[in-house]
Each structure stands twice: as C-alpha cells, then as structure tokens.
C-alpha cells in the first residue's frame, strides 16, 4: 500500500468509510428483525459473525418467521449468497491475494466491499478500498446486530412496533438497486407473482425457492447478455 500517493489513499479511505458507516449501522434492523422472527440473541449474532452477508441473513430469518422449514431458509440464504461468488470472480485478479490472506478476504467479500474495490485502477487501491469497507462494516454490523437483538428482545411482541412489516421493507430496499433495467424489473415482478401463486399449494419457504426457477428459466431462454 506504500505505493499509493497520500492524496489517493485519503480519498479511497474517505469514500470507503462513508459507505461502511451507512451500511454497518443497519445491522441494528437485522438484529431486531431476527429476534422478532423467533431466533435467539446467540443465533442472531452467530449469523452476523459467520454468514455476514445481509440479504442472505434477512432471507434465512424471514423464511423461518413465515413458518418455513430450516432447510428452506438455509437454501434461500445459500442461493442469495451465490452472487458473492460472482463478486469474487471480479475481485480475484484485482486483489491478487493468495493463501490465508485470500481466505480472510473472502469473509468480507460482500456487495459494498466489492463496489468500493472494483472501480480502482491499481491493486494497492483496490485492496485498500475493499478492506477498509469490508472490515469496518464487519465490526459495525456485528455490534449493531447485538444492539438490535437486545432491543428487539426487550420489545417483546414484534407486531406492537410493526417489526413484522419491517422485513418486507428491508427486502424491498435490498432489491431496489437491482431494478435498473426493464428485464431485471420484469424478472422481479415475475418472481413475486409466481411465489404468491404457489403460496396456497406449497409448504412455507418453498414459494421463494420456486421463484428462483424464474431466474433460471429467463437466464437460459433469454440469451441477450446482461451488462
């Protein structure tokens, strides 16, 4: 990192901290939603420490809250986690880490750390943006998860404060940045409709997995490249 000019280093750190502070704090909503979904504080904090990828964490607790089985919750979380694999493919040549450094970097490979690393022109700058964002979010996300979980437990019945309604809003906010193109908006609408159509005839948790089939079908049949 010593090869980076001081001005560029400051700029990368400043941008990364801005994104990291904004993102890390919403761990409080995950903590509150997770205990409202029936997980205990330990399970909630383990998810943030071990899984550490927001959409998958919300998905797991959301499916369980809706009465879905543990395997349906885990499968949904894993399917959402596959996008981090794509981020890894983009980041691997930029970060150029091997061995234990690569194993460590993998843990903080998430939407935001990728976004703050992928645009840089050099390995040193990419590493700085990626690590600053990833590590600061990891620390904050876990602290705020604990705060949210303890607060959620103190509240009791989640319906009193509308926390059950917060889950849908959280998923919509996570979905929002993806809805940039008409094909992605169409896939979102189709996924939502297909899931609701199969709700009456499948066990809880399965409708969301059926919606994954929409992505599979459209991806296979519609061969136009996605940017």
């Amino acid at each position: 990192m010593s090869t980076l000019p001081a001005a560029e280093r400051r700029a990368v750190v400043r941008d990364s901290l801005g994104v990291a502070l904004a993102t890390g704090t919403y761990g409080v909503s995950f903590g509150a939603v997770s205990v409202a979904s029936g997980l205990d504080v330990w399970q909630t904090c383990t998810l943030s420490l071990l899984m550490f990828t927001g959409a998958s964490q919300f998905a797991l607790v959301g499916v369980l809250a809706g009465g879905g089985s543990a395997w349906a919750g885990a499968a949904t979380a894993l399917l959402l986690g596959t996008r981090n694999t794509l981020y890894g493919l983009r980041m691997a040549p930029l970060l150029a880490w091997r061995g234990w450094r690569r194993a460590g970097a993998a843990h903080v490979l998430i939407d935001e750390s990728t976004a703050m690393g992928v645009t840089r022109g050099s390995t040193a700058a990419a590493r700085l943006g990626f690590l600053t964002t990833g590590v600061v979010i990891f620390v904050l996300w876990n602290l705020m998860t604990l705060v949210g979980a303890l607060a959620g437990e103190a509240i009791g019945d989640p319906r009193t404060y509308g926390l059950d309604a917060a889950v849908g809003a959280a998923f919509l906010a996570l979905l929002w940045p993806w809805l940039t193109r008409s094909r992605l908006r169409a896939v979102a609408a189709l996924g939502a409709v297909v899931a609701l159509l199969v709700v009456p005839v499948t066990p809880s948790g399965v409708p969301v997995l059926v919606a994954a089939g929409v992505a599979l079908l459209v991806g296979v049949l519609d061969r136009r490249p996605l940017p």
């Binding site: 029936g38 383990t46 899984m51 797991l60 794509l86 040549p93 009456p200």
Partner: protein, 109 residues
C-alpha cells in the same frame, strides 16, 4: 430434532456455505464460472429471490392449513417504503418508517 436444533443447523450450515461461496469466487479459475449462461442466471437470481421474499413477507399470513394470501397493514407499510425509496431515503429510514406505519395502522383499526 427440536426446532431450536434445526435453526442452529440452518444458521451454522448456511453460514459456512455462504463463506465457501465467497471463497470459491476468489479461488476458482474465472473461466469455470464465467460461461455466459451461468453468469446470466447468477445475475438474475438475487432479483427473483428478493422480489419473492418481499411478496411472501408482505402478502401472506399463517392460516389453519398453512399460509394464505392477505392484504393488511403490511401492504400499506410496503407502499410507504417504496415511496421513500423513490425519494432516495436511507435504508434505516425506509425500514423503521415502514414498521411505524404498520404499527400506527394497527392502533387505529
């Protein structure tokens, strides 16, 4: 197996799995996963899943024979969340305003 044990298995199993998915991206040679069909499906997957999660979270409720479709205070909360997202409100504002709308509606109805 008790519900708590099943939840722990899901937490630990999916947690480890999500880490391995991240590591695979950094460690697997790019050409294995960069075939266009695989890349397209992987890009569409989070969109379909998150949209389905929104729909199922908001428009279903537990019934006697499993979940059923409903429209209640959560739908109004979702509408408010969408308006806030159009106005570029921060994540926490969106989530907790939606919660407050649902709680408020339940107080007055």
């Amino acid at each position: 197996m008790s519900a708590a044990t099943a939840t722990w298995l899901a937490v630990l199993g999916a947690g480890l799995g999500c880490y391995l998915l991240k590591l695979a991206g950094l460690a697997v040679p790019a050409r294995v996963l960069e075939r266009p069909g695989v890349a397209r499906v992987a890009a569409l997957l989070p969109v379909a899943l998150l949209a389905a999660l929104v729909a199922v979270q908001v428009f279903t409720a537990p019934g006697q024979d499993g979940p059923r479709l409903v429209v209640d205070a959560r739908a109004a909360a979702l509408l408010v969340a969408a308006v806030l997202l159009v106005l570029r409100a921060p994540f926490l504002v969106v989530v907790f305003t939606a919660a407050a709308v649902a709680a408020g509606l339940r107080l007055v109805t």
